[in-house]
């Protein structure tokens, strides 16, 4: 119980911390809205040529675009979540201070990142999505149950997203610098989570592979849950399996990494 209160407090801190960057949030809302408009017209042109591409109709394609803009910062799809801070702390050796505390490193950062995700969704993600719903015709479920299953899928997506970025951040223990990893994660994240095009449109073996990768759990799966293209249980199982695998891998890497900690930063 005590642990629950601690990590709730940590998550609340993560939320408030990102809430202090007001100008960045406003700029983000503007950017996501503009990008959304550009992408929507591109998608509409594409779906005009190829109706039912990837099994979506036009309204679904539009929904997919605005959901992507809503989740872009929420799930830190191109990076820039708490892993950025973590990388910096590892690089400078400040991570040693975190280890003096009676708290679990992974849970600590997971809680911070969930707080951050929640703020990014409410502060930055919702407005572009509502904008889309008002000015374009979107496919949106009308029953509460679907929205609730979507909320669960979203929470699982947040955990998977953190799992990937935590592994990337811990690599700095060995690489001493996070620039290269961040770049690679950004490219992989944008493409493999389906930010450029829905993963459903990719045919053949390539499509099978990208849909099985953990990034698919971030945008593609919640989108399919929202639009009734996937059964909730199947979606949850896929996301939960990746969440568990990534968190377990993170834990292993963390154990190996904390043995090294020490060398850096005197």
């Amino acid at each position: 119980m005590g642990a629950g209160r601690l990590y709730t407090a940590v998550a609340a801190g993560g939320f408030r911390r990102y809430a202090t960057y007001r100008a960045a949030t406003a700029a983000g809302v503007f950017t996501n809205t503009v990008f959304g408009i550009i992408l929507v017209y591109t998608y509409l042109a594409l779906w005009d040529e190829k109706p039912h591409l990837g099994g979506y109709d036009q309204a679904q394609a539009v929904t997919y675009v605005w959901l992507g803009q809503c989740l872009y910062a929420t799930l830190a799809i191109q990076g820039g979540g708490v892993e950025k801070d973590l990388m910096e702390r590892i690089r400078t050796g400040e991570i040693a201070i975190d280890l003096y505390r009676p708290a679990d490193l992974q849970l600590w950062w997971l809680a911070t990142d969930l707080g951050r995700s929640l703020f990014q969704m409410l502060g930055r993600g919702v407005i572009p999505f509502v904008f889309g719903a008002v000015f374009f015709s979107m496919y949106l479920p009308t029953d509460v149950v679907t929205w609730m299953t979507f909320a669960v899928a979203l929470l699982l997506a947040m955990v998977v997203s953190f799992g990937i970025r935590y592994l990337a951040a811990l690599s700095v223990f060995w690489l001493m610098d996070g620039m290269g990893v961040s770049q690679a994660m950004m490219v992989l994240g944008i493409f493999c989570s389906g930010m450029t095009l829905p993963l459903n449109v990719f045919p053949g073996a390539f499509g099978e592979v990208v849909r099985a990768l953990p990034w698919a759990a971030q945008l593609q799966v919640p989108a399919d849950v929202l639009m009734g293209e996937s059964t909730p249980l199947r979606a949850f199982a896929f996301q939960a399996a990746w969440a568990v695998a990534l968190l377990a891998a993170g834990r292993l890497l963390q154990t190996a990494a904390t043995r090294r900690v020490v060398v850096q930063g005197g």
Partner: protein, 329 residues
């Protein structure tokens, strides 16, 4: 004994690239056969040049680093095996790093400590009120940490380290970069903490005054070995260190002659610099200069810790190259 260190060593393996796919492995002995004990309630200065092994020792004492050999106990606990359990009993303050939440108000970090250390509500309130008052932070609790001055942030970090009533406090350069007033605030506070709560304090610093005003005992480490363990006065004796009396005379005069009590090391117009043994009082010397010369102003300068240590290490016949460095291909 509260802290027991017995024959502790720490060997790091450093790999260096020497060619294509060729690597040289080298063992660096950061701490070598280190042994000491600290009783509960002691306040000990732990000093030494950069890279001497101070941080490595602290990291082993807090359990984030496992010793390569020897035995180590803090409050009866083996730190590296029960790091989390020990964490509830220790406080750590780094002068150059902060545990506080950078973008959020100071009070948010404290609320987090409350949860993290599971401090009972009443005790948390009581400790917070007392610490905040003693370190004059009451008006700053709602200010984001990034807006605090260095001295304020430092005091904020000290509060954070003490909210859970730790038995032992590790301080690493707690007064670095602080102005005179902030320094004395921090020192007064630490003295009181030690006297009233019996908190054991291990203090790492480059500021000799920190040690002089706080610690009855000093340990000097170099190349991972304990070179000196005893009172500060003894360190001055071993190191034959000197303080400097700077006097401003009414006019330019030939070097002051004080016999064996002091020697003039520098003359610049009416200002003269006299060196005298640090183990002796400045009072008789000042009285004699004032009686025999037209004195306008004076000040006493303390030797800096590096000079004292360097002299001490030199007088103990320490060689500059670490004898324990070995190269294995």
């Amino acid at each position: 004994m509260f802290i027991e260190v017995d024959g502790v060593e720490k060997v790091f393996e450093v790999r260096k690239k020497t060619g294509f796919l060729k690597r040289e492995r080298r063992q660096v002995r950061a701490v070598d056969e280190l042994s000491f004990t600290v009783a509960r309630g002691e306040m000990v200065g732990y000093i030494g040049p950069n890279g001497a092994g101070k941080s490595t020792t602290i990291k082993m004492l807090t359990g984030i680093l496992t010793p390569s050999g020897g035995r180590l106990r803090v409050a009866g606990i083996d730190p590296s095996r029960e790091r989390t359990k020990l964490a509830h009993r220790i406080g750590v303050v780094f002068g150059q790093r902060t545990t506080l939440w950078w973008d959020l108000p100071l009070i948010d970090s404290y609320r987090l400590m409350h949860r993290m250390y599971r401090i009972p509500d009443a005790r948390y309130r009581e400790n917070l009120d007392r610490l905040v008052e003693l370190l004059s932070l009451d008006t700053l609790l709602d200010v984001p940490v990034r807006q605090l001055s260095l001295g304020q942030r430092m005091r904020g970090d000290i509060v954070a380290a003490l909210l859970h009533d730790p038995d032992v406090l590790y301080l690493d350069e707690p007064t670095i970069g602080l102005d005179v007033i902030s320094k004395s605030k921090v020192r007064d506070f630490l003295r009181e903490l030690n006297e009233e709560h019996g908190t054991t304090v291990l203090l790492t610093t480059h500021d000799l005054q920190d040690i002089e005003q706080l610690c009855s005992r000093v340990m000097v480490i170099d190349h991972g070995r304990l070179m000196y363990d005893g009172p500060l006065a003894g360190l001055h004796e071993v190191g034959e260190s000197e303080r400097t009396l700077v006097v401003d005379l009414e006019r330019e005069l030939p070097p002051i002659d004080m016999g064996g009590a002091a020697r003039v090391v520098k003359v610049e117009g009416p200002r003269q610099w006299l060196a005298f043994p640090a183990s002796e009082s400045a009072a008789p010397l000042v009285a004699r200069v004032a009686a025999e010369y037209p004195l306008v102003d004076l000040s006493v300068r303390e030797p800096d810790i590096e000079t004292v240590i360097a002299k001490m290490l030199h007088s103990l016949g320490d060689t500059p190259k670490p004898p324990s460095d070995r190269t294995t291909a």
